[in-house]
Symmetry: C2
């Protein structure tokens, strides 16, 4: 199940030769296409806030501005970032190829309604003949079954070891999504991409609002190594094709909850597949003055290399947690803060708490709880440990 779980979508994933073949010589899928067959063509996107934005991000920002998208084409094997005007022209050409081939196949699509995503190395041009040929193959193999969705979710992977998909459903709607990357970033800077489809009847404005809220509490709280990509993109497309859909529109509260659940499942899957990581760490900050402050405190800890290496070494080093929180301006008193690691409150009132030898860090999953005692808000940041494999992965391969 993936982007084809919802009614009104077709998908494909093909091998175009943008990625190197597998060790056994098999070509890897590297071009994905997701098409909204309607009746609605509503869409929303959340794009990287990195000011060095890749060409496909610049393009997609324009496409999405009217709340409509008919299709999204995604390629792995190259990020098309820092490639200047020629790179932007490549993205434009790709969208035109999608529109032309879909139109030839009977679906009238304008290039300006085609979103584009790319992932791979920064600063290299894409192999355009290969990509354009891949787009044609993708159009020719579009399907609406599980296999088609699975092929698309595979074609967007870079150094990911598994595909990441999620679905949810409610009264008169289904949501299906796929994602790739993140976690420990791949050589040359990998990208977090996600495409989510739904057959709900929902306006572009409501879809945009729901997507932003869902991303805020999911992907934006997954912080594997603090490095923001030039290509990060999350796209949601609504077809309104569910047979039981309420023509007046989906229940927005129910839809919001289901969409956040799909995004959180995908975000957790990214962290779980982070390259080089030995631990997935959930940093839950409780009793914060505001949700933003809870997020700020957790993110400071998630970005501390000393904390991350300590977890790799199975060392419940609460001093490194406190010193990271201490660099922020969130409301807390250093003399009352408590910290637990995997259920053991090893820091009490800013000092030595329960016996640290009681903490078991042998599992992959680690939960840190930081009690700020400053309010009632909370937030959880997901991150990874900093390991030899991370250093190896990001240094040993030239990009």
């Amino acid at each position: 199940m993936s982007v084809t779980a919802a009614y009104g979508f077709t998908a494909a994933g093909v091998a175009a030769g943008l990625k190197s073949p597998a060790e056994d010589g098999t070509a890897k899928r590297d071009v994905a296409l997701v098409v909204n067959t309607g009746p609605l063509k509503h869409a929303a996107a959340v794009l990287t806030t990195n000011r060095v934005s890749a060409a496909p991000v610049l393009w997609s920002r324009q496409v999405i501005s009217d709340g409509r998208a008919d299709a999204v084409v995604l390629n792995s094997g190259g990020a098309n970032a820092c490639t200047g005007a020629p790179g932007f022209a490549d993205t434009h050409t790709t969208a035109e190829q999608v529109a032309e081939k879909l139109s030839s196949a009977g679906q009238d699509v304008s290039a300006t309604d085609v979103l584009v995503c790319s992932t791979g190395l920064i600063g290299v041009r894409l192999d355009m003949p290969a990509l354009l040929s891949g787009v044609e193959s993708a159009v020719n193999t579009l399907g609406e079954d599980d296999d088609a969705g699975a092929a698309a979710s595979e074609a967007i992977l870079t150094t990911d070891t598994v595909t990441k998909t999620a679905t949810a459903s409610g009264s008169g709607f289904t949501i299906g999504g796929m994602a790739k990357g993140a976690g420990m970033l791949a050589p040359g800077m990998a990208t977090m991409l996600s495409v989510i489809t739904t057959d709900a009847v929902i306006s572009a404005e409501a879809l945009d609002a729901a997507l932003r809220e869902a991303v805020r509490v999911s992907f934006n709280r997954a912080d594997s190594d603090g490095c923001m990509s030039t290509n990060d993109t999350v796209i949601a497309m609504a077809s309104g094709a569910h047979p039981d859909a309420d023509p007046a529109g989906v229940n927005l509260t129910e839809f919001q909850t289901a969409l956040a659940e799909v995004c959180q499942t995908l975000a957790a899957a990214l962290i779980a597949d982070a390259e080089g990581a030995h631990h997935e760490i959930a940093i839950r900050t409780i009793n914060a003055a505001t949700e933003d402050e809870a997020e700020t405190a957790g993110r400071a800890v998630a970005r501390s290399n000393l904390f991350k290496t300590a977890i790799f070494g199975r060392d419940p080093n609460w001093g490194r947690i406190l010193s990271a929180v201490g660099t922020t301006d969130v409301a807390f008193d250093p003399m009352t803060i408590d910290v637990a690691v995997n259920g053991v409150w090893i820091c009490r009132a800013g000092g030595i708490g329960e016996d640290r030898s009681l903490v078991d860090l042998s599992d992959r999953l680690v939960e840190v709880v930081i009690d700020l005692k400053a309010g009632e808000a909370e937030a959880t940041i997901l991150t990874n440990d900093l390991t030899h494999d991370y250093v190896h992965e990001n240094s040993a391969y030239s990009s």
Copy 2:
């Protein structure tokens, strides 16, 4: 030459048993004392801005508030951070021991004029009998020669491999300084400590202003791994004892330049001795709108684990540099920015520049130049690469 280079200071460094002995069984120096014998007792200090401040930082903040300090006592073998009220009492007791023993030796000193610094593990109490006995030994071995200064600079080391000292002089003044730590942080979180002495005739207010400016352009631009300590302290003390001192006061411009030079030499020495580092990296941001923005851009790059692992892998990965700058809000145009690594402009106008294979990263020293083309200000941030040795150092030892 060290803190005893300037007239009017005595120093000592003794082994009190706070640190484990060397492999050959030799006791390591771990208590240092620097005494200002006057006639002036002016002092200034820059303390960590981490809100989780160690007990000695809380104490020294009070001591320095009146611009006077007679002595500073420093111990390695324990940071006395996150130790609550008992830890603060330990610091108080240490200052009282210094005052009492100095007074017994004929120098009338109040405990409230004794600065205290500690460095080592967070969250453990100090061995007070050993420390107090060490203070007594230090008072008994105070000297004003080079050996005494060298002993003090050795006693503050933790996992440093060499002592760090610097001197400068000008019309009617000498400046001497010592420092420890920083760079890749040691197990349990090391501390950056520095004590600088001068025989200049200078008011406490002018000394404070000069020290803050010197720290701003030196220690505050050394960012080895982005982790701020709970104990960071830089202290300056002026005795006014130089035989050629102008009683009306030192030339402040000349003094400021010399003090900044001493601080920059010490900061560079910290980065050069950073544990686990294979490269020292100077990130020079030029043509920024303001000096602050130059610093912000450089620091964003210095804190990118992807950039730091790339340099370890001798990969001049300019995409990772651009994506780090892109996360900031400093003035620059992604379509005009240039980046050079070791003199080769591999990124021109935000895209591919000269051949990256021309970049030689075999030397320990690396210079990155980022040309923002937004103004005329510049700043240099010093940092290190992220290596297997860093991960090992900070994960393999439980703290």
